[in-house]
Subunit: 322 residues, 2 copies
């Protein structure tokens, strides 16, 4: 049997047929900008699914489930996408229309979820975690997440739970694009780290450091930064320490709130984890409210398929499971 996962991103809509061992056996992608209305997108998704099935010679009765990861808030009862900023969707009867477009044979097998929830489902299942309470925190350009409790994903009333990035950790801090100040992702995303590094690189000691060689903010990236840390650059190391404080503050908040068995880190920042994971764990273990308890959250790097670009597809294909 197969499942089909569809990941709707701002740039691409990617769909794949996923086998029993969570491998993608066939994949297709279209540009998101090529479909301008919700109805066009729904038709395009149905077309993608049918194309995929045809080219992989998968018949409807070989499909267990079709899942779509949507970047927005959803309503489980009406099957609507309530709001998806990147797609320009507002109150779109997504599920009903997609079922119609896919036809009777597939209609009963269609599921949707928020894309971050789908990713957490994918990580949880493919990573084979032995955890009743599981939190995934994804640290990339922004910070997102997903939570699984007692074998079910925490969706909340509009499927948009686990918006960790928009938890303020500094109510009079920097302006956030969400309208508030001092959100976790402003400090602890890769973007937040690069902002710190850029600022440090402009100071008098920073100019003489490895970071100082970069002359434009856009040129600075994780590779350059962590390379400087690896080479023992003092300015870069100081920046990393400051960053780890911010990151630990958000992680401690989330642990105090969920007390998960496992909190797994994924996303771009984890590529250089050998440089900071032990220190991060130490900061967290000293700060959590339950630190005197002999049982606490284990922090680890994601071990499932989440570092591949295919997490969105595989996770979406597995939505029906949770």
């Amino acid at each position: 049997m197969f499942r089909i996962g569809i990941d709707i991103g701002g740039t691409n809509i990617a769909a794949g047929i996923v086998d029993e061992s969570y491998k993608i056996v066939k994949k297709k992608t279209i540009k998101t900008r090529n479909v301008s209305t919700p109805s066009e997108m729904i038709q395009a998704i149905a077309g993608l699914v049918k194309d995929l099935m045809k080219s992989a010679m998968v018949k409807a009765d070989m499909v267990t489930a079709i899942g779509v990861g949507v970047p927005g808030t959803l309503d489980p009862e009406s099957g609507k996408v309530l709001y998806a900023n990147n797609l320009g969707f507002e109150d779109v009867p997504f599920l009903t229309e997609l079922k119609k477009a896919l036809g009777e044979e597939l209609a009963d097998k269609v599921y949707f979820d928020n894309d971050a929830n789908a990713a957490a489902i994918g990580e949880y299942i493919t990573g084979d975690y032995n955890a009743k309470n599981f939190v995934m925190m994804t640290i990339g350009t922004g910070i997102g997440g997903g939570v699984i409790i007692n074998g079910r994903v925490l969706r909340g009333c509009n499927y948009a739970a686990a918006e960790f990035g928009h938890m303020t950790i500094n109510f009079d801090g920097v302006d956030c694009n969400c309208g508030r100040k001092g959100c976790f992702e402003d400090y602890a995303s890769v973007e937040g780290l690069m902002n710190l590094a850029w600022e440090a690189s402009r100071s008098s000691s920073g100019k003489k450091s490895l970071l100082g060689k970069v002359s434009k903010r856009e040129e600075l990236d994780g590779e350059i930064f962590f390379d400087a840390v690896r080479k023992g650059d003092k300015v870069a190391k100081k920046v990393l320490d400051e960053y780890l404080f911010y990151l630990s503050e958000g992680i401690i908040n989330i642990i105090n709130i969920f007390q998960p068995d496992v909190l797994t880190l994924s996303g771009g920042i984890t590529k250089a984890a050998d440089l900071y994971l032990d220190k991060l764990k130490d900061l967290v273990s000293k700060g959590i409210y339950s630190r005197n308890s002999s049982k606490n959250t284990e922090i680890m790097l994601s071990k499932g398929i989440s570092d591949s670009g295919d997490i969105g597809i595989i996770g979406a294909a597995l939505i029906y499971k949770m």
Copy 2:
């Protein structure tokens, strides 16, 4: 049939027999300080339960469940109280010993949970909320909480989840007793509000205000403060506005994280809710990340039994349900 609930507090251990309509039919209390070791406390609890059953003429086969709310971290697998600061407990085999002390007829009916979880269970069941995702935030001297998702309480790996009070909202803010800085409860508990009010009362305009009539910090309480607000005292109203900002920041964080159907407020602060609830709701609705979505969290005052002092007992008696 009856359930028995036991609430272990820092001052009293209170136990009650609870009937099918969640009323306490018989209640007994002992002083916590009269039992100095964990074993003594467990024996005393078993004694309380037997006393209660005897005086209410409730036989073992009339008891559905016995639940204990413990102020600490617990381990569901070993039945241990891992750590309870107020009780001086560390790795106490609580459940095993209590079962033994209660005897064979009752042993299978014994449950325990963190006291805040028990309170949330009590509120959720007696308040008859129609909510798959439910958050209770209790604002008193500190800030605590409980979360119910898909009909089960969020316990976390050590039963100490939902520690909302120790979510930093200002990482370089005031020192918190938990060792971090700027925790939600430092700003948004009743204590936090009183600190703000006291500070304002010492300013030159504050001295002329109704708050200025109080000459000692200990004399200032919620009644005096909200009475001043009710009388239109400008200084008090300004303090309330500042406080509501802090309170809303924490609530917005929790909504962004859980997206509950319902977030209910309980605790001392709710007594004066007529003075601020609408304003608070307005602040929250403007700040939440999903504010453009047509489906969002409903904020309300607790409507169950949580304002009575018996919430701890009733909630504990209902632990077995969730």
